[in-house]
């Protein structure tokens, strides 16, 4: 998995490419820590994520919790049908901010 980080002011755009699973999610967690310093909004662009496991979901939920503590926010954009289905199945669709294009 590759991860692209791009900062725009206090917004951090995170674009993982590949699968977010038990192997790759800890790496994403580790690499996020220094990136979110001073950030008020994290946007996960999941366009290039083809699979997300429970481990991947927990990074999204953890980031959401961190941003909430900081009075900031976390959004998910460009989630494909598979990711949307996982979010729906796990009940996280309404618990997280998911921007849908339809």
């Amino acid at each position: 998995m590759t991860i692209d980080f791009a900062k725009d002011g206090t917004t951090l755009n995170v674009r993982p490419d590949g699968s977010l699973d038990s192997v790759t999610a800890p790496e994403l967690d580790k690499r996020l820590v220094p990136q979110i310093e001073g950030i008020s909004e994290v946007i996960f662009d999941l366009e290039k994520v083809d699979y997300v496991s429970s481990s991947g979901l927990r990074v999204l939920v953890a980031t959401d919790q961190v941003m909430e503590k900081r009075k900031g926010c976390m959004k998910i954009i460009h989630a494909g049908p598979y990711i949307l289905e996982v979010l729906d199945m796990t009940g996280l669709m309404n618990a997280l901010t998911v921007v849908r294009e339809d």
């Binding site: 967690d29 580790k30 009940g91």
Partner: protein
């Protein structure tokens, strides 16, 4: 949705319970989904009582649910939809007692002989008492807030309360406390579900599951807490395989090895108990037969 997965790494067991519940009982699945939003907030309150604890928020619940899926494997197909619902809800609710409000604590403690406990533990404090009895507080809170959690009937409420309480200390062999509940649309084997939950909760110890994002160990000041976190940090990951549970450990310091071995031994005992309870009290099994400790060198 493609539930059988693609390239190994345990993915084939991802979301089995959730998939089955959504396919077989969409109304119960909707109730879980609605609940997750509420619980995501409610479960964060553990930090008010236990600021130095590792994560017990909804992330821990998600881990426990994932471990249940891995422990069960294909047996998830043998669970009734009501059992899937009970187990998923219990995964989310079993530790809710850790975040009990002051008001609920004061109203519930009389049911737990708190005066007797404090007489026996003169050095005890409220935090210790809550930790000791958090499974009981969870049961009491689930019952009190059953409508908020949209639990649809008394049988399911009873099962969720008992399975959640059962994640520690309660007697899973007791057929009165842990009966099979028969319903038109399937049985709920509470003892088996309690055994799976207890084991799943116990093995959620991997450092890979305590997000660096959320926990800063520099705030720990008590040596006991520092050592406890050191043990946790040393357990790099916990892997549930078809017939065993593997602890991959890289000791932070050699002096922690006896504590790590002690921790793993306790988990072996829990596995034995849960396997025995599952076998004695149901027609289902916990297939994992042993706990294996694999110690990696620090250079690996």
């Amino acid at each position: 949705m493609e539930s059988k997965e693609r390239n190994g790494s345990g993915r084939e067991n991802d979301f089995l319970l959730e998939l089955r519940l959504r396919a077989e009982a969409p109304e119960l699945h909707r109730r879980v989904a609605d609940c997750v939003t509420v619980l995501k907030q409610a479960l964060k309150s553990y930090a008010a009582w236990f600021p130095s604890f590792t994560d017990h928020s909804a992330l821990h619940s998600m881990d426990v649910l994932e471990f249940c899926n891995r422990i069960l494997g294909d047996q998830a197909e043998k669970l009734s939809p009501r059992e899937c619902y009970v187990l998923i809800m219990s995964c989310y609710l079993h530790d809710i007692g850790m975040g009990i409000s002051e008001k609920d604590y004061l109203s519930f403690r009389d049911q737990l002989d708190w005066t007797g406990w404090f007489a026996d533990h003169p050095e005890g404090d409220e935090t210790w008492f809550i930790r000791e009895f958090h499974h009981e507080f969870s049961g009491l809170l689930i019952r009190k807030y059953a409508a908020l959690f949209e639990i649809p009937d008394e049988d399911l409420l009873f099962a969720i309360v008992q399975v959640s309480r059962g994640h520690r200390k309660t007697d899973l062999f007791d057929a009165g406390a842990y009966p099979d509940l028969q319903a038109r649309d399937g049985v709920v084997r509470t003892a088996f579900l309690g055994a799976v939950l207890r084991l799943a909760d116990e093995i959620d110890m991997g450092a890979d599951r305590n997000p660096e994002l959320l926990f800063d160990p520099s705030g720990l000041t008590e040596q006991r807490d520092i050592d406890s976190f050191g043990v946790h940090e040393s357990i790099r990951t916990v892997e549930v395989r078809e017939n065993r549970i593997v602890f991959h450990v890289r000791p932070k310091e050699p002096r922690l090895i006896p504590q790590i071995e002690h921790t793993v031994e306790k988990i072996r005992q829990t596995l034995e108990y849960c396997r025995a309870a599952a076998t004695a009290r149901s027609d289902l099994r916990i297939p994992q037969e042993k706990v294996v400790l694999e110690i990696m060198n620090t250079e690996e």
